[in-house]
């Protein structure tokens, strides 16, 4: 089950990283637990967790927000969401997730993260099939980042990932 106890480390990590890298304060919006597919943002950063917690973390944001974030992060104005900007946004997801896993390991759930993958496309919908995911909107003055957590505690003795499709992303 997607577990809410996995959520706080991500929210804290996101707030800390955003504060440090782009000096913005983060406000958490209303949480929701979603099963159905939902229209996602223009840019999605995807990272997997492997270990005592397994599943997928997605960071959704608009292209405009992505450009604002990297402009501030790298200290130069971006007008286009080019390779450098993509790499910056992906790295932001990487650092947030990495920091969250350190927090999770302090609570006794150690896990490793995969390198980030960036998905872009108009009208992408993300669904987790019948696996409920926790959705946390994070509001900053540069725009909103939506964190989707499709995580579960790894069942003992199970093969990693077997028969567990945490996320399905659909294009219109």
């Amino acid at each position: 089950m997607a577990n809410v106890k996995f959520m706080n480390p991500f929210v804290e990590a996101a707030a800390e990283v955003l504060e440090k890298e782009v000096s913005v304060t983060t406000e958490r919006g209303a949480l929701s637990l979603q099963k159905s597919s939902m229209t996602s943002d223009e840019i999605t950063v995807l990272l997997s967790l492997v270990g005592q917690v397994q599943g997928v973390v997605l960071y959704g944001l608009s292209r405009a927000t992505g450009i604002k974030l990297v402009s501030k992060m790298l200290g130069q104005e971006f007008t286009d969401f080019d390779n450098l900007a993509q790499s910056g946004v992906a790295e932001l997801g990487n650092v947030i997730t990495g920091r969250a896993t350190v927090k999770l390991s302090k609570e006794g759930f150690s896990s490793e993260i995969s390198p980030p993958t960036l998905i872009q496309g108009e009208g992408i919908t993300i669904s987790t099939l019948d696996f409920p995911r926790v959705v946390v909107p994070l509001k900053t003055e540069l725009g909103e980042i939506t964190v989707h957590l499709a995580l579960r505690e790894t069942p003992p003795g199970s093969d990693s990932g077997r028969n567990f499709v945490p996320v399905s992303i659909q294009l219109k």
Partner: protein, 174 residues
């Protein structure tokens, strides 16, 4: 990317497709791609974590996915429903799992993530600074391509979080 990471995937794909769906596949010419991947009808994304890290994805055309899912489930499917999607995801999972067992025999331990499905043509997937080897497989049921963006791990587990955002190329640090 070294060929020694690549061969296990090609072998595993061949073996699994033969065993699960009994479809002979021919391997096309390999290519190295640095740009983003424009998706086919269906894409299964799986990450590797461990001595070898990175992303593997499998692109399927609709016909190929339908034939494979039909053959796996032993019934003729007309559309990619939830069951068919989960079958295709499982196929990617089994191929990657098998490849990671082969890799571990050559001394590279890695763990695979659960699969993620991406449905629909025309999204772009970027593996960022990982160059991507494309392995096209052709068969009489349609196109399948395997994309491997892998490297030997440069970081270990939780330490990854302690990395700072690296200096981006072309930006002067003052």
């Amino acid at each position: 990317m070294k060929v020694q990471y690549l061969i296990p995937f090609v072998e595993a794909a061949y073996e699994v497709l033969k065993a699960e769906v009994n479809i002979p596949m021919q391997r096309g010419d390999l290519s190295l791609d640095k740009g983003a991947y424009l998706t086919d009808d269906m894409t299964v994304i799986i990450s590797l974590v461990g001595d070898i890290e990175g992303i593997v994805f499998f692109g399927f055309s609709n016909e190929a996915a339908l034939s494979i899912a039909s053959s796996m489930l032993g019934e003729s499917l007309m559309e990619m429903n939830g069951l068919a999607q989960s079958g295709i995801a499982e196929l990617g999972n089994v191929i990657t799992g098998r490849a990671s067992v082969k890799l571990s025999k050559s001394g590279f331990q890695s763990t695979i993530s659960p699969p993620t499905m991406l449905m629909g043509k025309g999204a772009t997937i970027s593996t960022l600074d990982f160059p991507r080897v494309v392995v096209p497989l052709t068969s009489n049921i349609g196109k399948i391509s395997i994309h491997l963006a892998l490297r030997e791990a440069t970081r270990q587990g939780a330490n990854a979080a302690l990395l700072k955002v690296p200096a981006a190329p072309g930006i002067k640090q003052t």
